[in-house]
């Protein structure tokens, strides 16, 4: 039977393991994600791996709204997990996708999400090889949640762990901060701007690969998502027992992000990013690494934003443009829920 992808909605039957679910998988998921693994219609995928170190990461995506400037939950769920895998230095290989869908959700919206997810997966070269579909009654989910789990192989000789971080290391970022969180917020608050306010959602694995080719000795990488650069650095400062000092003048903040942040009293340092990474680099190799980042399309606006120090252990501080210094504290909560 043919599912009505234009006018139909998700029914409880689509998650029940019967014919309705098989039809939805064939006519929607398989159509867009099509690959040799999904075509086998098993509850698992099997693929060959070489001996070595495998990296695994998982992310459940509950972003609201589902569609936002510069992306949607589908593309985001691909980029988010690819980035988490890539932060280990690994080359991402395969993704799984688990959907929890609310009864009544339009099939046309689901197809729009899955099409976007499939495109993101194809463009990144990381196929979705296995999946799962669950349906919950109307009112029991906010449209759609997507879990993606990814695995990848870590190249020999690469070791990126917080414990590698040393005093004197430089902290780099591949571009502007706060774009994703502010793009989501602008949708919620119905803010409109002349400027182009877009999520920075993008897959960072090719940038990571270029960076490691240039400087294999990068100490550690992290993607500053929920809680932004501030939360990520505070967590690492706590874990390593080191201090981190940022230079405000080196932070790249777009005029639109700056404007919205001022309007709403937000600090871009705490706003989520979905296409950014922080890298800790031995000071002697920082120029080489910065050059490598800037010659990659996703790192054109890369900059050195700070330094690791033995002093002020466990703390993050900021040298302001006006010559002062202030603490960037580890907040209990992020001001923007459900941005990923």
């Amino acid at each position: 039977m043919k599912q009505d992808l234009q006018h139909g909605v998700i029914e409880m039957a689509h998650g029940s393991g019967g014919r309705a679910m098989a039809e939805l998988i064939d006519q929607l998921f398989l159509k867009h994600f099509d690959n040799q693994w999904l075509r086998q219609k098993q509850d698992h995928a099997v693929f060959q791996v070489p001996a070595g170190r495998l990296a695994m990461s998982t992310d459940s995506h509950v972003v609201s709204p589902l569609f936002f400037p510069g992306g949607d939950i589908g593309a985001l769920s691909v980029h988010g997990t690819i980035n988490d895998v890539a932060m280990s230095g690994a080359r991402p290989l395969y993704l799984s996708a688990g959907f929890v869908i609310e009864e009544g959700f339009p099939l046309a919206d689901l197809e729009r999400v899955v099409r976007s997810m499939a495109r993101a997966s194809r463009e990144a070269g990381v196929p979705v090889v296995t999946g799962d579909t669950k349906v919950v009654e109307k009112g029991n989910a906010d449209g759609l949640y997507i879990n993606t789990t990814g695995i990848g192989m870590v190249p020999d000789g690469i070791d990126m762990e917080p414990r590698n971080i040393q005093p004197g290391d430089r902290i780099l970022i591949n571009g502007s901060i706060g774009d994703h969180g502010i793009a989501i917020l602008s949708q919620r608050e119905n803010l409109t701007f002349d400027t182009d306010l877009q999520s920075d959602s993008q897959p960072l694995h090719t940038l990571v690969s270029a960076m490691l080719k240039s400087v294999p000795g990068i100490r550690c990488m992290r993607d500053p998502t929920r809680g932004g650069v501030a939360a990520t650095l505070n967590e690492l400062a706590q874990q390593t027992g080191l201090g981190m000092v940022l230079e405000e003048s080196s932070l790249v903040i777009s005029p639109a992000v700056q404007a919205v942040s001022e309007l709403l009293g937000l600090d871009p340092l705490y706003i989520a990013n979905e296409g950014k990474l922080l890298a800790f680099c031995p000071s002697g190799e920082v120029d080489k690494l910065l050059a490598a980042m800037r010659s990659h399309p996703m790192g054109q606006n890369a900059s050195i934003i700070g330094e690791v120090q033995a002093e002020n252990a466990g703390m993050v501080s900021l040298n302001t443009c006006f010559g002062g210094q202030r603490l960037v504290d580890w907040r209990y909560s992020d001001p923007l829920p459900r941005i990923c």
Copy 2:
């Protein structure tokens, strides 16, 4: 700061990437799942694998209620994914866990789930090595959803795919049918019985391993979860273009499952199982396989329930106890939503 695990509830802050989330991870997830990978507090886990075939499977769990006789969403989410991985013949190695939690959910209930999940993971010898926590506003999830994704290594020489199934193959199952679905249903309908009605939720990987040791040439295995034995066999009949005939007299159905099914007009063939597998075996090896199953604690009630045939292509039928034959059709929907 200490989270109040006895009286506290989940707040939006617990999913925000700030200090509250770090505390929850440390004081609840890390406490119970504790292992070398989680202790590194990365967004990924890295581990060594040998060269070979890796199997990957994912399942989002939305079972309602969260606690039921014989299990809960925590143990189920471990067993479900271990079983999906094991059905490829693989030895499960590692799990990821992604939590979507509703604001206001009691931390005491969350700890109960996580404790159970950690116990199931320990008992199965398959650690949860990486995770993710998201919180959605009150009313946007039904307490708690858990995605688990698992990977495992397929031993050399093992190949379990539907295309291997041949006419003449025997169909085996490791015990009674319908226990999980009926146990869940009994909770929803407030049915009480003198008999002990319990979910069969259990991890099948050691049974699979014993079966493959005895008969490496098993054609294919499947766990008959949503939609039960009927949906699983219909799907395989469609995929292979073969017919499947079941013997009603060989099906094992507990008196309690039989009683509830009759009361509510349900057919146990369509009811979900969470600790059962169907195996397709060349007829010449079926006695050996049956003996191997029966000598494993999870296969003591194993039986040969049917046969594959070239006739009645794509269909499943049942030889009844009264000497008739009826079609076991592929239903559009499962009568029991959200059983896993």
